[in-house]
Point group: C4
Chain length 197, copies 4
Amino acid sequence: MQSNRLEAFSDGVLAIIITIMVLELKLPEHGDTIRQFWDSAGVGLLTYLLSFVYVGIYWSNHHHLFQVVRSVNGAVLWANLHLLFWLSLVPLTQRWLDESSIARDPTVVYGVNLLGAAVAYYVLQRAIFRTPSGDALRDALGRDLKGILSPILYLIGIGLAFITPWLGLVPPIIVALIWLVPDRRVERYLARQDGAA
Amino acid sequence: MQSNRLEAFSDGVLAIIITIMVLELKLPEHGDTIRQFWDSAGVGLLTYLLSFVYVGIYWSNHHHLFQVVRSVNGAVLWANLHLLFWLSLVPLTQRWLDESSIARDPTVVYGVNLLGAAVAYYVLQRAIFRTPSGDALRDALGRDLKGILSPILYLIGIGLAFITPWLGLVPPIIVALIWLVPDRRVERYLARQDGAA
Amino acid sequence: MQSNRLEAFSDGVLAIIITIMVLELKLPEHGDTIRQFWDSAGVGLLTYLLSFVYVGIYWSNHHHLFQVVRSVNGAVLWANLHLLFWLSLVPLTQRWLDESSIARDPTVVYGVNLLGAAVAYYVLQRAIFRTPSGDALRDALGRDLKGILSPILYLIGIGLAFITPWLGLVPPIIVALIWLVPDRRVERYLARQDGAA
Amino acid sequence: MQSNRLEAFSDGVLAIIITIMVLELKLPEHGDTIRQFWDSAGVGLLTYLLSFVYVGIYWSNHHHLFQVVRSVNGAVLWANLHLLFWLSLVPLTQRWLDESSIARDPTVVYGVNLLGAAVAYYVLQRAIFRTPSGDALRDALGRDLKGILSPILYLIGIGLAFITPWLGLVPPIIVALIWLVPDRRVERYLARQDGAA
């Protein structure tokens, strides 16, 4: 099986996830000043920005991943759906985070959601390793430092949320910043391949 | 006519169906504890998970189907839209199931919805059998045991719902588990073809 | 410019339009019987079915259209966006039709919406006629009987709505049935081309 | 990296943005006359039309842009996501504009949103200039008069909104009209290239 339809479907799901979060932002019910707008939509805008960056990172990494992988099997299909399931919960947990103005439990649940997505991404990579394209990907990724660091940071964030809720968002923000620097490994690998050919 | 646009459109519809169900989940109106979250969104999360797996299965099978089929006609277009219509009702019937906390009638309607989608999928396969790619697909599918078993299980589920509502969900869950094991028939067929060439 | 991205974007918009209409269907606020379900969602389901068939027809015809057309220009891009604009209003006018239980004015507005889409489709065809692929399309379409009949039937429907609202839906239903029979002209044209080659 | 998946993802996001705005339009709560419809949805329809044209322009220009660009890097991916972020806010700011019946602050915020998108588009072009396809694009675009004029007009609009709110929408409408004339530069460039070959 070729990977192109898996990519198209994932693009569709991620495009919807990243866009519908805006639908949930609350507008002021009375008054039309920027201050009232900020009071009702401010926290929502900030958590939306964070979630947008997250989904963007997953899309970007997914994109890089399937630059190397060309053929998939049933296990990869379901590992991919598993990842999309976790990401599809982000609009829900982000909305709760927003509506609670960043209370403790919502911050923990948001962290668990991000952790679940990270684990699912890891499982997806492992599933791809077992396909014929697996060696190429293993080669391209090398030592997956970011991939190991991220879940640890999420766990720290979940822990910190029990002390002061908003502190629990700091590690996820650090993870986002780490990944925002695009993953050059695949690009470099593709360049090396071209050079060797 | 080539099948690629039919696939792209179906991917789009399925991606939306699978994602918008999350929009319907209810957050607690008062209180921000995980317990309150579970009280208001718990049943919704479980029925969402079931529906997500269902739509995922249809996407995966649809994907496999059109690996073999390359050219389509008007009848296939409409058989495909017919399938998408039934699947597009899943967010509605799932929401009712959730809001009623799995009452009798919503469970019956949800079962009828799944049965309708199964029949539509069967009709789609028959429509493809009558195209030039039909023989290849017939060959690839062989004896369609899962396809025959599923509607029978849905009917049993609809019957059980009249005794105890949540019992009516057990057969659909069994169907989901049966199909979660990806359909190897098409993969095997494609491999055989490659071997013969 | 190639037409593939225009097709992908249109597929996306049509996939969303056809799916979000389900979000608007109302569930019973009290009671969980099928009768209460039908009372609150029945008219919505029927008008949704009609609108689904309509958007499906437009997608199917659009699909056929761009089987012949391979390269587009700026005028075609905007004629296509113009068509999508009218179709994007269908969820709104359908919702009004539903919420009013098919009152006079909503039926008229729904008819005007369908008429607007039909005119936009006609304008799109004319824009394509002026591109290099224009002659091929003109050839493929021949005498556009359905295309001429449809707006006339919409106008009759708008007129009938002033007598008895639901009567105004009969002509649009007839139009839908006329188009449901897939448009063989393009298929036949492509077959003729293959035969001549 | 090839640009096709970036295009597909952007098409998805833009297709959703352009379509979900209709979900936000308010229907009359009492009464079913066209007058009541206009009273509740009129301003919404007009601001929706303006926003639809805007997103359509961005899609059309994006489409033209990536006709020339074939390979992208991480910086282009993120410059593109940055643009999509600003555009994803349009449904929110348009809804506020609508619900406030075009008050001062919502008009200012809407203008800032359009300005942000324009800046993001400029940044995206700069990011592409630094890729191997950069020279071809620079060539194709020539002196970017419209691109320079647009932000100036947005700023004027933001200023005018402080005098009379609805006046602040006039410059954005002028920008829309300027861009509605499709950008022939890329088409001409592609034609020149074909002629030279």
